[in-house]
Subunit: 287 residues, 6 copies
């Protein structure tokens, strides 16, 4: 499996710092400090308690580094690795006090991000016969977008728009306020940056036909079922001009996704990847 | 319904700031800025798209306040309110550019926190015939613990330990490293702060009997099924000394929780409340 | 003149805070505090001391707001306004101590950003007969990118890539390391996000021909003179496929820019707009 | 050449962090991550593309350290070094992804600061026959004052007042508001800290004579031409009391500076050193 | 002497950073930079100039690490060590510029925290014949609570409530506003978290009797003299129910503390430990 | 009494924020939230419980503003006001929950800063017959220097050096490392900024005589008793050159200060003002 490029440490470090701040309060781990001898050293194993895909390893590793540089952290299963129940994903080796103090924060990162990666991989598996891509949205957990998008990559998905500032996505209300689709798309053509990608959302096939002639880079087919998506793809295939990327979105779940993928669309974007992924269960064991 | 005391604004503000920073990048909402006229004013309605319990309203309100103080934000359903599908939960009224620019971040807070509150309320409903409490754990989303614990309160649950620094929770590995349960609990009695609450985790009934004589404030019965919990309660009821709070934890779900509650324990703590709550669906509508 | 959409306040506030921190040290304006009576009120006028285009007004206004909310700040010439020598661009009215304490920081923002806007407007004026756009680059002052890109907009230019994360720009060394142009562009097609804009840099006409068939969104013609650019435009015009945006860059100055613009390219990007704009002179006068 | 004392790392680190934050967005360098193999190692050379004086090297070095500690950064020309076109100023050696990801931010620091140093050195060269000093002002780029003042030192200049809190500079409006020059200077004598340096600005020779008797440490001769400065120097030379430092300011440029220096004044302070220095061109080459 | 568990570095680092920021301004140590040769290396000794107990060593060590990692810092007397006049408590060895630049900040931390530890140890010594504990309060220096509580531990005292969020302390005004003591304590029993420790403050013996039946974990006997405390202890000893911890507070000083301790109470909490401890004198010597 | 100029809010705000963060943890004031009804409004009076001088009022006011803008805060005795026991110094009026939640932090600021102001005023009173000034040093509480220096002003004292970056203070070890006093002072004359104030520390009268000819602005007479200081003053009075400011320091206390002041020196600097001032007792009462 190709290794996932890591995020820059400057992006992750403030996330880890906040997590430690909220868990350490004004004094850190009372229990470990009172009961664990200063000299006690040990090796603990982080193990998957279910099958899935790992993500969040950078944050877990940085958590230990910020709590105690004397802890040796060995990654066994990096971001994007498929694991089965019982697999060792990382080993921490060092002063026991530090091993225990940092455990919850490290596991919270790993559990959440591996949950996102695992859910993504389930969607990806459902559509593997098709050329379609599974993509995240901006429906991410506040403050953790970078890690969650990385987790989507780990699961085999794609990241979508970086931020409100990185691309243009035109929706119904933008069009209405701009004075109609023609006026809106002319304004965009005139004012948008040449490095900005432009996407337009349509709810009906009529709208689709209307926007095609403005050659947006992406057309977002919102809340359409498979039958309607098939018609949309046919319209675009028939259109004699530059082919936009076709993205479907809305009401997608693990049951419906394969059907949508079969319609010939290019991308299916799914908020649930990041906003509703259940935790992936990882434990810390002595052996 | 009694109003939930708000969190101090200084706790929420940095969370909102980070969420805006990651969504605004270096320039904010390109699309709204290009297409929405500066003077356009409107009123938009946040509506529940399913039934549940609301939380995260303070963060949503602060999001709008930080994006544009000219937006008037009216709360219709504050934290802890039960809503049904279609209920208006808040109204935002002001410059349309600002209404749209802040929408995703505000909804991300509301969706996640109302998800936690709603899941909590489902657990609470399952055990309402019993005196038991449903409590969260430290398995919270990194950087959002304060809001998530508030959401648990909104759902009718309880918060549990503030941080590693706020109470003592003694687990297996602590006891092993401290040289046995006797030595561990004597050390705690001698060194722990008089304001620190002390909890001991036990995995077996034998351990339970052993720790009872040290009069810990709370005993955490880890991963026991209903039958075993019943025996644990009986042991404690028979014990002639101060009665500890009995907390059960591990492997709890919406199917099993009522059975556990019926055993007579005092508290059931559930990591899933905060780490695996699905998003609560809220939309922004023009009317 | 159409009003420029403002930047979100959360983007500007930390920039202003840092500027005030470095100018106030541990105590603020010693001189004003010792010599200006607490009750003294006045009205001061910020005036252009040369002709140009204004930018940075949001930061100047926020500077005063953060120093003293009792100061009334009236914008006379907002971002993007053309001014002539002597024009009043803003009025500050309130406690004199605060007027003086905040002056330098406010003028430093206005001077730098209006300098960028003015230089941009000079380039824009040189090419106004052509359809070409003048665009900034990532060669911005560390920590001030958002304001400087806004200043480029104020001067009639365009912003270009938001950050390294917002679009893909493939240069020589990327191609070499990826194993050649074919391999590089195939990798990009497979892995790049569907919302990512893709630009490829070419140094020669041979390279231009080679990359055309991969239909990149933008081709950056690096360091080509007008004659060569004309040939490049001709090659692209002759090419039977989707037309990329043609961007020229490198060695552009106020003397050469019109000649380059006349070649038919779409965009000229210029690092000097942000990295070498001289300060725009603004004074603070009593009347 | 004597080495310039470095700035404390705690001053530079937040500047570098902000620059990286704005360039990395939520994910870092998309292009390098997609195209450059994880294992690729290389050595790149930062080279001066023009003659001048280097500054900003600490920030450049810290940029690489924060992006990837595996990159080896070798300084060839530290702050204050004179370089000619083609000189290697630093070498970066390590993972190519990191070399490319950090390049722009590192060069932005070096380009801006070496620009300040180079312009300063040009002023210093013009006055080298005289005892006069070239000094910066508080007209620095918001958020970068520490680095820009360091760059002025690198160019052979002097730093001037640290902040509004570090010294007293009395200007026209202070005197007016304090009730006249006598009252103002008596107030200062009574209230100013014994560690505070005191400077008074004068616009005319009459004012100069008036303030001399209050023995300010520095007199700032504002906007005077060479003829007038000569008279000012003569007045001070004739005065029978402690000699203040004489500083000239206003309307200084590379053409006029030598003439001003010849008048016998002690210091010439120039805002343009920091607010209008053009970028110094540095490239990153493979050999 | 058992070693005191260190605070997590993430708690201390921001405190040290702020202290360095306020002492370094925009450029650091002017004097050392001008006078101390870059190559000068030396070893300096921090010595106690009086007898007492050391605390704050972690902050001092981190101060040097943040100023210059080349400085070797050797702890001779860690937190909690008793020292006599002349004892070497730490050695710093490295570039002299760095040794001097960081000295004041490091000594400010050590002086303040050792002052707290020493004062605490004096109270502890006064009561050593009794089982009573000496505890701090929330009357700590703003921004330094974590270090000051650690210093109290170093002096042999106890920390008390972590924060307003970590335990419940019910005072007069709470009771009045809640509608009387019965209503207040019933509300607490119903709503307070099972992990929250509950303390009630009483001013009179009548109040003491009233609250006993609600079995609070701690009763704070406010502003009672020894005679009254003795009566309070007798009342509690006679009471047939779970024994609360008895804490005395108010008007305690080094003269009165032994008398209070003799009454049989469990804890004496003293604001002066943290808000009025005089500095502990530490010097930096060459040998 | 002349009003003390306030500190810029940007300096105080981060100090208040940190203090609130450490007292509020992840949820704020548990007790007030559980027991005080949401609608309860009240007026509370901050009263001096001893005689002294008030300082820290800005921080106290900002504490309440950050906790709850609905609280009305009325200053009765601003910074620098002399108060007697029982005087009302401020009134807070608003929601009781907020009044109680912010109380401790506000009082911690007021208690510490009024302690510094009061101690300063005691020193000032002792020397009021002499022209001497009482000044602080850099021995301030880490993170609170700005407020503590302001408190010294409130008590009638002076602030001294802003930071290591704001003035030059040459001590023994600097001179030794620079190669002797002549070399050191020549280096300073050549390299120090014209806006930097220069102070030299001497331990003996021989040293005093030696440094006089270099005309430092300030001479710090370290650890000299009154007899020796008198001789020092005589030496300086006899010296035929610019008179430096004479500052005494070391071993000063409330008993010795008047004797030192009588020697004719200009300034007495005292670390104890900021590092050893006992808390000033302020209570919060209902009437």
């Amino acid at each position: 499996m190709p290794t996932l490029p890591p995020l820059p440490p400057t992006i992750i470090e403030p996330m880890v710092r906040r997590a430690l701040d909220e868990d350490f309060g004004n004094s850190g781990d009372l229990t470990a400090n009172l009961l664990v001898p200063e000299k006690a050293r040990n090796k603990l194993y982080m193990k998957a308690r279910e099958a899935g895909v790992i993500a969040g390893m950078q944050a877990a590793q940085m958590t230990y580094a910020m709590v105690d540089p004397k802890v040796k952290f060995t990654v066994k299963k990096g971001d994007g690795s498929k694991v089965k129940k019982g697999d060792i994903i990382a080993i921490v080796d060092g002063p026991v006090r530090s091993l225990l103090s940092a455990e919850r924060v490290a596991l919270n990162f790993l559990g959440r991000m591996s949950g996102v990666a695992t859910l993504t991989s389930q969607y990806v598996a459902k559509v593997k016969k098709h050329k379609v891509r599974i993509a995240a949205t901006r429906k991410t957990t506040p403050g953790l977008r970078a890690l969650e998008k990385q987790a989507v990559l780990a699961g085999g998905g794609y990241k979508h728009r970086e931020s409100l500032a990185a691309a243009i996505m035109i929706k119904d209300n933008h069009i209405a306020l701009a004075g109609g689709v023609d006026k809106a798309l002319k304004t965009i053509a005139k004012k948008a940056d040449h490095m900005a990608r432009i996407s337009v959302e349509v709810d009906t096939l009529a709208q689709l036909k209307k926007v095609l002639k403005y050659a947006p880079h992406v057309i977002l087919l919102d809340n359409m079922n498979a039958a309607m998506l098939m018609k949309a793809v046919a319209i675009v295939d028939d259109y004699d001009g530059p082919r936009p990327v076709l993205e479907a979105s809305g009401g997608v779940n693990l049951e419906t996704v394969a059907g949508l993928a079969a319609t010939g669309i290019d991308v299916i974007s799914i908020g649930a990847l990041t906003h509703s992924a259940p935790n992936f269960d990882i434990g810390m064991d002595a052996a």
